[in-house]
Every structure is written in structure tokens, then in C-alpha cells.
């Protein structure tokens, strides 16, 4: 028979192993559900069907496209090839401006309309979100 010490050690390792697997499973599953993918207006045009999940769209805010009413802000995100109309209700960051890079997070209504729940902008005026940079570069 094994001694008490060995048994304890086995128990210890077994518990550690099980928790490890369990947490790995949890983390992976949760990652899958909560990851937000990034797309450019051109990529959205190419979609065959609309994704119901939350996504991020990035590009430049088109010149003279911002219009604002009491309830919402509307603007157009462009990657100089394709455009998408965005409606947004919520707080606008300081560096949100025409012809600056922008990332909007929210849901696609159809291929031309996006309803944003959050707008992200950076503290640095020279900054361009990497996704936007990549999206613009492709064109």
C-alpha cells in the first residue's frame, strides 16, 4: 500500500490537474464568446451574411460627414474604398473628429448601417489605431 504521504501528494497533483483543465476550458470558452473582431468597411462589404455578434469597425471619419442631433451622432467611416454609415448614442471622446482615425464598437444593422455602442479614440493625436492602419494600408 502507498503511504499517507504519497497518497496526499497524489491527491494534491490530481486536484491541481483537474482545476487546471477546468479553468483552461472556462477561459477558452469565454474567450470564444467575448472576443470582439475587427473589420474594415471593405471587409464588411464582402461579408456574405451579417454577423450578429458585436464587432469593431475602424477607418477614418469622412470629411463633412458628422451630424449631430439631440439623441445621436451620425457619421461615416471610410477606408477610402468603401464606407459605412454609423449611428451612435453615447459619449463622444475628445479626439473624435473628421479625418481622424476612429474605431467604433457595436452591431451591424445591414451592410451599410452600423449602430455603435462605443467609440474609441486615443489620447495621442498622432495615433492611428493599428487596425485602421492595417485597413487603410490594404487599399
Amino acid at each position: 500500500m502507498y503511504g499517507r504521504k504519497v497518497k496526499l501528494r497524489f491527491l494534491f497533483i490530481a486536484i491541481a490537474f483537474i482545476t487546471l483543465i477546468l479553468s483552461a476550458f472556462l477561459v477558452l470558452k469565454s474567450l470564444e464568446e467575448n472576443v470582439i473582431y475587427f473589420q474594415s468597411p471593405s471587409e464588411i462589404k464582402l461579408l456574405s451574411e451579417l454577423d450578429k455578434k458585436k464587432i469593431r469597425i475602424g477607418g477614418m471619419v469622412k470629411k463633412n460627414s458628422i451630424s449631430i442631433t439631440a439623441n445621436e451622432v451620425k457619421f461615416i467611416i471610410t477606408d477610402f474604398k468603401n464606407e459605412i454609415n454609423v449611428t451612435y448614442t453615447g459619449a463622444v471622446p475628445n479626439l473624435f473628429a473628421e479625418e481622424k482615425g476612429v474605431v467604433a464598437e457595436g452591431f451591424l444593422k445591414d451592410k451599410n448601417f452600423f449602430s455603435a455602442t462605443k467609440i474609441l479614440a486615443k489620447h495621442d493625436e498622432n495615433y492611428m489605431p493599428p487596425e485602421v492602419k492595417a485597413a487603410l494600408k490594404e487599399n
Binding site: S30, N71, L120
Partner: protein
């Protein structure tokens, strides 16, 4: 000009002293009867020259010497003196110099404070610390020299990013660095102790002071950053699970775990491997924080200037340290624990170990959430981001057992124990459950998880409150910290549950009305500050009880660089914060307005202060625990 020259050569001298120190240390290590006094004097000299160099940079900033590139890039003559000085560490080069300054300061203090330790151990710690210091010296001199010239001398600097011009952010980096760098001492010390195979109860009580010091500063540092984000970024939140915040949270989690393990080690001489791993991890996580933030590899709202060249250097340096410590761990560490058999399931150490597991789990969640996007981008070039729901979903449910064990654990004795006073344990639990039911019963959303979570937090709260009065200050530091933690969880929960928010766009003179609030945009006025112009909105806000308050949120347009920032107007009371922030959308006459009522906001800050205060007490107390 002059300062740059002095500063630069002081840096070079500092590096030379590192090499000299290593040389003497090796000689002294071979023949280690007495500690060579030269070592101490050279350590002091090194510290002295780093201070000189740091002061030179400060003076360059104070006198706006734009022949210095760092000053040119980050300062401006119209900037207030306070922020000129703060500008010294508000940028990459200066902040690294600050790192170096704290590194040398700490090794000096370490030497002065650990007279009773074996000489070999002290020398070896010094050598490991010097390796880190050399790394930083070379990094500073090669890739980010703070004393670069510009010729011809510009007349005006480019200015400091205005959102960094803030009192909380002035002291935030130095304090955070004290925490990070404190962990470097733990790192060097643990490597030295492992190599010499002298991890013992003695060593545990010696290093515990350093663990407490860095833990204290790290906690305060994170708190300050969080407070800054709350009132400056204008989102009204205090934690966004942003990568830069995560990289400061990860060392904190590791350090907190280490703090508890050290206690076990000090009492029982078990968990030695675990303590070594944690000590190493803490420092390496702090270093990776620097890497991730400074290299621009992470996409974060807080990363400012960054440069891939520098990233490469830190990356190589970081991984050299990782491989060095792995090597030492696997080749020198001999497991001399003897007493797994004396492990009994119901004991203080079991509680600590279980909560350690939870902490490690939280740590891995944060780690994965932070670096997964980088990995995915490299492996499949898909751009993704991991949002707060990921963290919430994975962390919140596990807080429940975590809190319960935290409540019961300290009641247990070391080695083996039975629960005494079962009646009050259970009665307090019942009270907590009832109370939380009363609080949450009006909520349909997520009722179950909220009520269980609140009851376990309340349970911890009551347990500590009771101990506070009954146990007569027996273990007051632990008591205060745990009490603070329960308060933190409670205030965060209430804050999330009862916050209300109005976001709307208004023109001057317009009124927004909903069932609960009426916001009147009275007028705007203008004001001129030293280096900015500001537009001040005048709002009167009426709540459901008809009480009217006046708010003056501000929109600042800084002259150099030309950036607009929103200054929120926050009215803080013990019960809730009222927070309003405005923003002007380009070329439009509408103002974007965000008004939030956030209950118990101040308690979040206070509870973190309490948590760190517990650490401070235990640091100052001569005899730790019973």
C-alpha cells in the same frame, strides 16, 4: 547644455560602477570572511551618480533647456513649473531614469538594512541586482538617452500631452515604480538565496519586509492611476480592463499571493518552491509590463510614446532574465521540505493555499486576456480585442468562494484546527444573506449571482468588523486589509448595480428631461489658463427629489500640443458621486453631455487605502502576528 553633459557622463560613470561592483563582488565572494567596504562605497557612489543624472534632467526641464531632445519633446515654456518637473518622468526616457534611480536607491537601502544576513547572500543579491541595473543602464544609454542634443536649439518645446498634466499622474509613476522596483529586490534576493540553498524561515521574515514595501507602493500606485482614469478620461469608470491597467494588476496579484505564502513559509517551512516561483514571477511580470507598455505591442488607450527598437531590447533583456531564473531554479533549488504529512485539511495554510490557487487563476485570466490578442495577431493576423465581459464572466463567480475562504481562513489555526464559535460564524452568515436579499430584491437582472456575491462580501465584512472589536487588535494589519477588501468588493458591486447614466446632446440653453433627472444647459463661459483656453459649461441638474445642483464641467483647449481635453465636474459625497463631462463635436453647436450618478465611489478609493494601510501597519509593527 551643461546639465545634459553632466547628466550623460554621470550615467556612463554609473554603468562603470556597476561593472566595478560585479568585479569586486566576485573577488569578495570567493573570500567571504568580511564584507569588503569598497562594495558599499561603490554602491553609494553609483546611487550618487544616478541622482546627479536625474537632477540634471529635472533642472533641464525646470530651465526649459530645449537643446535637450527629451525636454524639447515634452516640455514648453508656458507649462506650470509643477508640470515641468513632472515632465521629467512623464516620458519614456525620464521614466527609465527614474526606474534606475529607484533601483540603485533600493539596493543601497537593502545593504544598509540587512546587516545580519550572511555575507555571501548579500553579495550575490547585489550581483543579481547589478545585472538588472546594467540592463537598464545599457537600455537607457543605447536606445533612449535622455540627454540627446538638438542643434540648432529650438526656441520652444512641443509640450506635454495635456491629459498627463494632472496632479495624480505626477505622483502615480514614481509610486508605481517603487512597487515594481521593490519586487526587483525580492527577485535578486530569492535568486541569491536559492543559489546558496538558504531559503529558510529566517530568510522569509527578512524578505517579508520587502514584499510588504513593494506591495504597499504597488497598491497605492494602482489606486492613483485608477483615480486619474476616473476623473480625467471622462468615462466615469475606474477600471477598464485595459492592457496597461492589467499589466499593473498582474504583479499585484502575484505579489499579494507571495505575501501570503511568505507567511506560511515563515511559520512552517513549506511551499518553498512556490515562494521562489512567485518571487520571480512578480518581478518578471513588472518587467513585462514595461515591455508591453513601452514597445507599442499592445493596443491600449494609455500607451503614449513607444518605439519597437526599444521593445526589442526589453524583450531580449526580459527573456534573458527569465532564462537565468529558470536555470537557477532548476539547477540549484533543492526541495528540503519535509512535512507534507503534517498537512491537515482544516488549517490556516490550507485556506491560504486554496486562495492562492484562486489568485493564480485570476492572474492567468488577466494574463490571457491581455496577451491573447497579440498571439492571435501574430499567428493568424486577426485583429481582435478582449472586452470587460470576458474578465467579469471569468472572475466574478470565483470571487464567492474566494471571499468565503478569506472570511473563515484567518479564524483557523496553523497546522490543525477546529472551528470554534460555530454559532456566531453561522449567525453572521445568515445575517449577511438576509441583508443582501433586502438590497437586491428589487433587481431582476442577474439576481442570483448578485445576491450570493453580496452576501459573501458582507460576510467577510461582518467577520472582520467583529474581530476588530472583539479580538483586541491581535492581528490588526490582516484585519484591516481584509476589511478593506470586503469594503472594496461591496462598493464596486453597489457602484455597478445602482449607477445611473444620462448621455445626450444639448445646445446652449436647451433642457433634457427624463423621469429622474432634469438637466438644464444654462450657458457657456470662457476662461484662460496658463497654457490653455477653456470653455466652461454651466449646468443645473435637478434630481427626482427636486434638489437642484450647479455643475461646471470644462473643455480645455491646450496650446501646445494643440489638444482638447474634457475636465469632468464631480461632486463627491459619502453616498455617491455626481459626475458630468462635456465634449464638443467638431463644427457642430451641440455639446455631447454625459451625466452619471455613481454611488459609493469614494468608498472604492477609501477601501483600497485601507487595504494598503493594513500592509503599512504590518511593516511598521516589530513583531508580526501572534
Amino acid at each position: 547644455m551643461l546639465y545634459s553633459v553632466i547628466g550623460y557622463y554621470s550615467l556612463i560613470l554609473g554603468l562603470c560602477f556597476s561593472l566595478i561592483l560585479i568585479y569586486f563582488s566576485i573577488i569578495n565572494f570567493r573570500n567571504s570572511k568580511i564584507l569588503d567596504t569598497k562594495i558599499l562605497s561603490f554602491t553609494f557612489l553609483q546611487f550618487f551618480f544616478v541622482i546627479i543624472s536625474f537632477l540634471c534632467l529635472v533642472l533641464s526641464f525646470v530651465f526649459s533647456d530645449f537643446s535637450n531632445e527629451t525636454v524639447f519633446n515634452n516640455s514648453h515654456t508656458t507649462k506650470p513649473l509643477f508640470y515641468k518637473i513632472a515632465g521629467t518622468w512623464g516620458n519614456h526616457e525620464g521614466s527609465l531614469l527614474l526606474w534606475l534611480f529607484v533601483l540603485t536607491l533600493f539596493i543601497l537601502i537593502f545593504f544598509l538594512r540587512s546587516k545580519n544576513q550572511p555575507i555571501k547572500y548579500k553579495i550575490l543579491t547585489l550581483v543579481f541586482q547589478q545585472i538588472i541595473i546594467i540592463g537598464f543602464f545599457v537600455f537607457l544609454i543605447m536606445t533612449s538617452n535622455p540627454f540627446n542634443y538638438i542643434y540648432p536649439t529650438p526656441e520652444e518645446g512641443l509640450g506635454l500631452n495635456p491629459i498627463l498634466q494632472d496632479p495624480a499622474l505626477v505622483i502615480h509613476p514614481p509610486i508605481l515604480y517603487l512597487g515594481y522596483v521593490g519586487s526587483s529586490i525580492i527577485f535578486s534576493s530569492v535568486l541569491a538565496a536559492t543559489t546558496l540553498n538558504m531559503i529558510s524561515k529566517n530568510w522569509a521574515s527578512h524578505i517579508k519586509k520587502w514584499v510588504l514595501i513593494s506591495w504597499f507602493f504597488l497598491t497605492i500606485g494602482i489606486l492613483l492611476g485608477s483615480i486619474w482614469a476616473y476623473y480625467e478620461l471622462g468615462w466615469g469608470g475606474f477600471w477598464f480592463w485595459d492592457p496597461v491597467e492589467n499589466v499593473s494588476l498582474m504583479p499585484w496579484l502575484a505579489l499579494t499571493t507571495l505575501l501570503h505564502c511568505i507567511l506560511v513559509l515563515e511559520k512552517k517551512l513549506i511551499l518553498t518552491s512556490w515562494v521562489i516561483i512567485l518571487s520571480i514571477t512578480t518581478f518578471l511580470l513588472s518587467m513585462s509590463g514595461t515591455f508591453l507598455v513601452r514597445s507599442g505591442i499592445l493596443n491600449s488607450v494609455h500607451t503614449f510614446a513607444s518605439d519597437p527598437q526599444r521593445g526589442l531590447f526589453i524583450l531580449i533583456f526580459l527573456f534573458s532574465l527569465i532564462f537565468l531564473s529558470l536555470f537557477i531554479f532548476f539547477f540549484f533549488h533543492k526541495n528540503n521540505e519535509n512535512n507534507l504529512s503534517s498537512f491537515f485539511w482544516l488549517s490556516k495554510e490550507t485556506a491560504i493555499i486554496i486562495n492562492n490557487w484562486f489568485m493564480m487563476y485570476f492572474l492567468s485570466v488577466v494574463l490571457i486576456g491581455t496577451i491573447y490578442p497579440i498571439f492571435l495577431d501574430v499567428l493568424s493576423s486577426q485583429k481582435i480585442s478582449v472586452g470587460p465581459p470576458f474578465y467579469h464572466k471569468l472572475i466574478i463567480p470565483f470571487l464567492i468562494p474566494f471571499l468565503l475562504i478569506m472570511a473563515i481562513g484567518p479564524k483557523l489555526k496553523w497546522i490543525r484546527s477546529n472551528l470554534e464559535n460555530k454559532i456566531y460564524l453561522i449567525s453572521l452568515l445568515v445575517i449577511s444573506i438576509l441583508l443582501s436579499y433586502l438590497i437586491v430584491k428589487n433587481f431582476e437582472y442577474n439576481f442570483l449571482i448578485n445576491s450570493i456575491l453580496i452576501s459573501s462580501a458582507l460576510y467577510l465584512f461582518f467577520m472582520n468588523l467583529r474581530d476588530f472589536f472583539i479580538q483586541k487588535y491581535q492581528n490588526i494589519s490582516q484585519n484591516i486589509s481584509h476589511f478593506g477588501f470586503s469594503l472594496l468588493i461591496l462598493s464596486i458591486l453597489f457602484n455597478n448595480l445602482f449607477s445611473t447614466e444620462v448621455i445626450t446632446n444639448l445646445k446652449v440653453g436647451e433642457t433634457f428631461e427624463s423621469s429622474k433627472t432634469k438637466i438644464i444647459f444654462e450657458n457657456v463661459s470662457q476662461r484662460t489658463g496658463k497654457n490653455y483656453e477653456s470653455i466652461i459649461g454651466n449646468f443645473s441638474i435637478q434630481n427626482s427629489k427636486g434638489k437642484v445642483e450647479n455643475f461646471l464641467p470644462e473643455l480645455r483647449i491646450y496650446n501646445q500640443p494643440n489638444i482638447v481635453t474634457s475636465e469632468a465636474d464631480i461632486k463627491t459625497t459619502l453616498i455617491s458621486d455626481k459626475f458630468i463631462v462635456i465634449n464638443l463635436v467638431q463644427n457642430q453647436d451641440y455639446f455631447n453631455i454625459r451625466y452619471q450618478v455613481k454611488p459609493f465611489m469614494i468608498w472604492i478609493w477609501l477601501s483600497v487605502v485601507l487595504i494598503s494601510f493594513g500592509g503599512l501597519i504590518s511593516l511598521l509593527k516589530k513583531k508580526y502576528e501572534k
